[in-house]
Symmetry: C2
Subunit: 450 residues, 2 copies
């Protein structure tokens, strides 16, 4: 396969993308070099945010001859984008000066959502990359795919829908539980015979809880063959619980509003493949900012090689992860990234120790008596931090005994002493999650004054 | 302009569609004849629902040589589609046997939503027709268009978004109030400088109520230049109230999930133009089913000349209207339909008389003391039907005096005696509308046992 032909296939959807996903790695590096040179030139001419920063340090586009020079470009931090937005309202200077076709944004859990523009080209590419995800996870033109993600400023509802249509499959766009309630979503999936279901991992478990309460057998009453996830991390214990309850494979797809659809898991479910024609991923040392070799854990920075509007150049997204050096036995040459262990933003300090709410995930998933929802609540009482776990009961059990067992387990994984376990009636937390919008529902509630 | 060239422009988006919108009417009739022959052949080969019905009455595709033969085809009623769905679950035989790319559906206020398939071609055409709407209403590539319609199975959120992108404008897809709350929608419209806003008429008034409560001056604090409506009727009194409050032109666009985007209002705001290359509209006598001449009021039947999936052939949609015979002075040759006065589905019988909730609209819009929301409540008390009007107060007033004045006015327009007027605190009805999903919120609440 010639380099020229493969360059034409960059950013493509399946079936063409099959060739690029399996290209000789040297060709991928060349495509990345072409992409980076074009991106840097584009940013210099059209994106004041980058030009200003580069001029200050005496960097010129000619200094970037290929992907090997990427280290010369400064890392971009979230706080710089936020500062740019504040100083140049309403959209900052990082969007660039070319026409865009839509705004998608972060969810704005705290404060206002951060806008990210998409050009027609950007939107088209992201749809293609979603089609790659679905294809790698076994979806075909014969599938009927129910999308239970929010359609609004948050991006994956719309982009998964584009990908499904590009693949020639049929989409059933039901949206979030706020728009089509959970019971109706379950009835529609069953009555209209969905064969694939796209949603956040926590919604997959919530759907399982509700479907069982409605009297359905998850393994017999649906024609669904696979569950496709994005929008939240999919830690191993959670995947195990989802797959066990539904009796179906569940796939991870790491991405974000800023980046689009940068990765996909293949059928081997062992880390997410990076779409390396469209993105350049690095892992950097959180202290020094130095690039780390593959296999070392650090902070992920993303460069969007294809993007015209709101492009990212070495954007530190705040996720700890590792690039997996070994080639995947699926045959794809695209490198893989380990499942994201934690987001810096999710971390809180309790009695001086760093706590990640995901660390209790394996404990919650172990108990069949517990529903899918949980959260850690931190408070400041009598001059000290206290932390407790809240979870929901779905099966009859001896509550006191169960609380004690769970507390024991939590204390083994949390790193600081847990002050209590509170078991709530089914639906208590789900209702809050639904009211807040599932993506915004946090696994940690910090009640301390800030 | 040659017929061949115009045939190529059928179903197109602006700017090309400008030619077809103003074509010689004889050419439009020829395009309709071509479209009808193709549609009938398609239904015969791919849509068992129609073939079965036609075979029963001995009708063959060869019997339809042009649009003048349309009267030979039987009228399709909603109940037949519902029967087909029930007998051939889950999708009936009216969708046809070709691949479709998505399901959109009726809102399913009562019972389950009715699915309507869309092929890629259908979806593309509907996006083009939405671009025609926006173009006729003054939207250009320089606009930033906030879409405050539900994105889910109900269609206009998605299709307006496609139209905005096709026009080269930028979309801000905030979705319904259930997904992005009303206050945030207002803040985003202001901060991100929306220049055009797409929403239902009742949401336009609700946004006005809430924005004023937030302290905004509707005429000074926004950059919005026009309001574009669909999803609900826009009776004259409601348009007047919306335009007066916002100080902006408000446009009507009649359509539905079944039909797509069949009509658009032009800048003259005097009835909606029918996209006559893509649809054939007739008005029939509700008693005899006979076709009525232009200018006579009757039941609208729609034929989707372009549609591949779930096509409609003389579909009686249940709306009373009139085709306006006079040409429009905007220069478009597409005929116009009078604003839909009422839906058969909205009618209720009270003490034997037919009541349409819209009939009290002018009364509610007349009083500045009242908010945007209202409804009629019908109940059966002491062996008789009673009917009362509920509305919200937004300004200090003498409640007793106001109630009496309103009751007087309502009695003049309603046709049966109104038993009372109940004035509620601001927000009471809006909350219910929001919880129910705005499109599903009914202006009539019937509490009588059925």
């Amino acid at each position: 396969m010639s380099k020229n032909l493969l360059t034409k296939l960059q950013y493509s959807a399946p079936p063409e993308s099959q060739l690029i996903e399996r290209a000789n790695y040297e060709v991928i590096r060349e495509i990345q070099s072409l992409g980076l040179r074009r991106l840097v030139k584009h940013c210099w001419e059209h994106v004041p945010f980058y030009r200003n920063r580069w001029e200050k340090i005496g960097l010129h586009p000619d200094d970037i001859r290929g992907i090997e020079d990427i280290g010369k470009l400064p890392v971009t931090n979230k706080s710089e984008i936020e500062k740019d937005l504040k100083e140049n309202p309403p959209f900052g200077t990082f969007q660039g000066d070319l026409p865009a076709c839509r705004i998608q944004s972060s969810t704005g859990t705290t404060g206002m959502p951060k806008p990210f523009f998409q050009s027609k080209h950007d939107w088209d590419v992201i749809g293609n990359l979603w089609a790659r995800r679905l294809n790698a996870q076994g979806v075909t033109a014969g599938d009927r795919v129910q999308v239970s993600l929010t359609y609004a400023l948050f991006i994956p509802g719309f982009t998964s829908t584009e990908g499904i249509m590009k693949l020639g499959a049929m989409v059933v766009p039901v949206g979030s539980g706020a728009v089509t309630n959970t019971e109706r979503q379950i009835t529609l999936a069953r009555d209209w015979g969905a064969t694939c279901w796209v949603m956040t991992p926590s919604f997959a478990l919530h759907l399982a809880d509700v479907a069982e309460k409605m009297g359905y057998d998850l393994k017999k009453d649906f024609q669904v063959k696979r569950l496709i996830h994005t929008g939240e991390p999919l830690p191993p214990a959670m995947r195990e619980r989802i797959e066990e309850r539904w009796g179906l494979p569940a796939y991870d797809n790491w991405g974000s509003v800023e980046t689009g659809a940068p990765t996909f898991e293949c059928e081997l479910k062992n880390g997410v493949h990076i779409n390396e024609d469209a993105y350049y991923f690095e892992v950097i040392d959180p202290e020094t900012g130095d690039r780390l070799p593959d296999g070392k854990e650090g902070l992920l920075t993303v460069t969007t090689l294809y993007k015209e509007s709101a492009p990212l150049v070495r954007y530190n997204i705040g996720d700890f992860t590792t690039i997996i050096p070994e080639p995947c036995s699926c045959g794809r040459t695209f490198r893989r990234m380990a499942s994201v262990r934690s987001r810096v933003d999710d971390m809180v300090k309790v009695r001086g120790s760093a706590i990640y709410p995901q660390s209790v995930e394996p404990v919650v998933r172990k108990y069949k008596e517990l529903g899918s929802e949980y959260r850690l609540v931190v408070d400041y009482v009598n001059n000290r931090d206290i932390i407790k776990l809240q979870a929901e009961i779905v099966q009859d059990c001896s509550v006191d005994e169960l609380q004690e067992k769970i507390l024991n387990d939590v204390n083994k994984v949390l790193g600081v002493k847990c002050n209590g376990v509170e078991l709530l009636p089914f639906g208590t937390l789900a209702q809050e999650a639904s009211a807040a919008g599932r993506i915004k529902f946090r696994r940690l509630l910090d009640l301390r004054k800030k």
